[in-house]
Amino acid sequence: MNCVELKNVCCRVDNKDILNDISFAIPQGSMWAIIGPNGAGKSTLIKILTSVLKPTSGEVRINDSNINNLSRLEIARNIAVVPDNFNTNFDFTVFDIVLMSRYSHNSKSYITNADKTAALEALDKAKISHLKNNLYKTLSSGEKQTVLLARAIAQDSDVILLDEPTSNLDIKNQMEIMHMLKTLNDDGKSVIAVMHDINLAVRFINNFIIIKQGKIINSGNIESVFSEKILADLYDINVNIFKDVNSRFLFMQAEKIK
């Protein structure tokens, strides 16, 4: 079964086509990256997949149900989102932030012990239990990103959707986040990440959807998706592709701009 499926989805905002006839299906338990240049429509795609934005036409299906037939709570129970950047001026602790992810699972007006246990387990899984009582707004970018990932873990949805999870992070934090995503995928979660760093993405993810100007220009596994020509068309610069000693892809950006 597909966890996420888009059929001929178009999205028009302020008389501008943001997404144009997008169709793809992502099988349950798989790990995919969506890549494309800035302004390609990747973040809009995340909003469409969570029904924050309604498509102008086409159909979005989540775990075989039309998204229009799902309540917002049901969508949240199916898809957890890790935004690229979330800041707040309010003095929320890390535990408060993670605990709020249990909203979709608990219809009661109060927080249950089960909620607290799930939040603590998520913090433990993300290895940030020691930050539990820290104020979220005082954390570093890497710590904030890990807290948002812990929040997604506590939300306990089938699909984890990430918007540029490694942007603004140093190499160590990038690797830690990607390892965590890989572990979650190994545990059976479907992971869909919008990525900018292709070199990092190919080390952990095998399946790719390439978007440019609101259209899918290629999708599939690494071997079938990437070619120097496609990347040149995608980013409007020449890109050289190499393989390292482990036969993993390495992309070298050429200096010459087309």
Binding site: R72, N89, Y103
Partner: protein
């Protein structure tokens, strides 16, 4: 919120209610007040003059309790408004409740309406309907504007409020004999309020408090912003509408009885948030106690500090503003 905190807040509240009931310009000995109150439960304390009993039981006690409950209501509304708008300047009157109520009261005064109708105070009724109609006009314009941002709602509320304030000014200029009555109504007062007023506001409070506590998780999530709230599963537009309608009705109910009392709804949640943090269950319970104590204290000062009674709104601002600024300076936490 631990039970010990509720116990401490409750104990302080009861102590102050008794203390403030004993305070006043009438010559009643301090301990006689407690004896008069106790005489209702134990006949061995009876034997005081009827006038003293009336002052304590029918004038001071309901007034003190009314100011307490009104402060609690306004603080509760402030918590709701500041969460929905994520704006530190939001208070229960930002959507035109106060100006609508003032217009209703002004109309009843300038039209020389009878004081009561079927036992109900006409000025209070007019103020209530003025507030409610204004809020619904603001909402109707907002909903038809096809906009989703709270900033638009805020601006529509401010614009309508300013428009109504201008209408009130015109009515005051055309009816200069009534300017004093209208002006004093807008400053708010608990003078001449008794048990029926307390009963009405208490009903508003119980309904509002139950609703807001039921929505405490919704209010927490709303502080994250509309997109995050939706990611976590909240139907933010529906929840936002419900909270604003209920808090506006609550504010309208209080204002119609007491007149416009500013500062409590704006400042109390900020002050309490410094100590409790932003999670609403704790914030709202502490705000209810703090708002109640704040307004009750202000009203006691208003009625007993000088030989004549001051409008309570003046006291809340004179004492509240410096205290608030002190807290902002001394607090390690951001106010918002």
């Amino acid at each position: 919120m631990k039970k010990i905190h509720i116990f401490i807040f409750s104990s302080i509240s009861i102590f102050l209610i008794l203390l403030y009931t004993a305070a006043g310009t009438a010559d009643i000995a301090f301990f006689d007040t407690f004896k008069i109150l106790a005489s209702k439960f134990n006949s061995s304390f009876s034997g005081f003059s009827t006038s003293k009993e009336i002052i304590i039981l029918n004038i001071r006690l309901p007034r003190v309790l009314l100011s307490y409950i009104s402060g609690a209501c306004l603080a509760l509304c402030g918590c709701g408004y500041q969460s929905v708008f994520k704006n530190p300047l939001s208070d229960p009157f930002i959507l035109g409740v106060s100006s609508g109520a003032a217009l209703g009261a002004t109309l009843s005064i300038v039209l020389n309406m009878p004081n009561t109708l079927l036992g109900l105070n006409i000025t209070a009724l007019m103020a209530f309907f003025g507030a409610v109609i204004t809020v619904f006009i603001v909402f109707a314009i907002y909903e038809n504007s096809q906009r989703n941002s709270t900033s638009s709602l805020l601006l529509i509320g401010i614009a309508i409020g300013q428009f109504i304030t201008a209408v009130i000014s015109v009515l005051m200029l055309l009816n200069q004999d009534n300017i004093k009555d209208i002006y004093f109504w807008t400053l708010g007062s608990f003078a001449a309020k008794s048990w029926p007023h307390l009963a009405v506001v208490s009903v508003y409070f119980v309904i509002g408090f139950c609703f807001m506590m039921h929505n405490s998780k919704n209010l927490d999530i709303m502080l994250l912003g509309s997109q995050e709230a939706q990611y976590l599963g909240q139907d933010i537009y529906k929840v936002r509408r419900h909270i604003l309608v209920i808090t506006s009705l609550l504010a309208a109910g209080v204002v119609s009885v007491t007149g416009i009392i500013g500062f409590i709804g704006l400042v109390t949640p900020h002050v309490v948030r410094i100590f409790t943090g932003p999670m609403h269950k704790k914030l709202m319970v502490c705000s209810v106690f703090t708002g109640g104590i704040f307004l009750m204290t202000a009203d006691t000062i208003a009625r007993s500090a000088l030989k004549f009674e001051l409008p309570v709104g003046i006291i809340t601002a004179i004492f509240g503003a410096p205290f608030f600024i002190y807290l902002i300076y001394s607090s390690k936490r951001e106010v918002l």
